[in-house]
Symmetry: C2
Subunit: 307 residues, 2 copies
Amino acid sequence: MKPSFISLDWGTSSLRAVLVSEEGAVIEARSAAGGVMSVKDRQFEASLHAICSDWIENFGCPIVASGMIGSRQGWVEAPYLDCPATPATAARALTTLQISNRVDMHIIPGLRCGSKTTMYDVMRGEETQIWGADVAPDSVCVLPGTHSKWAFVDEQSRITRFATYMTGELYGLLTKHGILGRLMEFGGSDKEAFVRGAKLGLAQLAQATHVIFAARTAGLTGEVPPAGLPDYLSGILIGVEVASALAAEKVSAERPINVIGDDDLSSRYEAALQLAGLRSVRARDGATIQGHVRVAREAGIVACESA
Amino acid sequence: MKPSFISLDWGTSSLRAVLVSEEGAVIEARSAAGGVMSVKDRQFEASLHAICSDWIENFGCPIVASGMIGSRQGWVEAPYLDCPATPATAARALTTLQISNRVDMHIIPGLRCGSKTTMYDVMRGEETQIWGADVAPDSVCVLPGTHSKWAFVDEQSRITRFATYMTGELYGLLTKHGILGRLMEFGGSDKEAFVRGAKLGLAQLAQATHVIFAARTAGLTGEVPPAGLPDYLSGILIGVEVASALAAEKVSAERPINVIGDDDLSSRYEAALQLAGLRSVRARDGATIQGHVRVAREAGIVACESA
């Protein structure tokens, strides 16, 4: 397979580089812990060379990157693109810099939606995952994570709007630094406690800052054992998120929700969606790489110099 | 004035002791940093003597205590009393221990409401404040704090139900340990940012875990200056709490909400209630002491041995 470009998924905590063929297939994949937050003194170029200098040197491959690398804390700030957005509009808004006087690195813009009068929302990296996940037109996507995203893709496959839920960060803060964590025993898994929490959260979406206190009272009263409390809280927070997102959009029970992610967290969202009476479908793996392929093709980034 | 009993407001972070007269007036008040969490090796009796051994020795005064001192982490666990609850039912459910083989210390039970099928809620200390705040029958009380409480007092002045909102703890966690704090400058005050946040929170009560993300995007887009972001987040969280509490109960705009507390935080709640179109009334100072007086009288704790 002939190399076409280097796909960089450069987020807050990790860096993944993939050499992509002209057909859009993975020739080789590498990963490193060099996320944006762990790069010292802004030595981004050194981190890049550490992971794939050979691809740059040997093939002169251009680079397509997405994620927090384009944030203010990243290498170069790639201004947000307003919704509705597609691979084509993103391809026209790339932020490009030259690497080693030889190849171009193109950073895909993050997206912005909302308004000054209510609130803005932003994403960086998830837009590329959505475009690569090959979701059906006119459907809803959820990308579970520290800051979960719910995005709406219209009939023309445009991302029209999205919303961030701080579910993962709240779970981390409440369990690691807050009073709820004090009654908890960590390390186990309690599916039943998760389901109880999710049902409570789904029913009490408009009482989020109240209902999380159930993870304390259920411990105090012995309703949920200490080892079940972490999953109980996880269920409450994910239940609140799912119900809130569904309340904000009139989501049809006919059409499955696209869950984009490939870890245990996605399974929790699938379970919560099921409890909410909705179907879900897990997106294919490698969504980010396929998103890069789509944007690269729209931008005419098709071949390495010496491939 | 003849001393009648010692009032102890013994919470998580502080200890206040007041020598109360037979008329229910303050003879002398003292405070110490010896909150339940700072007492080492369960040396509660030593902390008590350090603050008021003279009152015990000289007058043989009985003690009435409320707050976290009756929690599992406190001196002796005082089991929760179920709602509806009054000073009279609390007086029949005191947990009593003897101090120095001489005087009795009576711990007022915390309250519990809710149910196994939804969730339980608990309070410790706030019930005493409510009873002492002399609120009108059939009214709503809010006690701002790390864990704010909203309580409902019926025509017979019984606390019928209440709900905890983790507003203060969430504010602390999100600003001290979370990503929202990274864009913030602390130390100032920005009333306008607070009002903007409160309006957003009031309007988006069913989107709490989403709308707090506005405290990041408003910083990224320059909508709110870094020094205004702490108050913006405070407004969002208090707005969400006020709207959620009002949504859970059909609160009449005719009757003012009782705000029980005497600090800057209470002023924020008053501002948010006003933005929600409601009136509020600040409860009198010394509510805890007056709550102790009511329970003490119901329990027949009326005089010191040698007063």
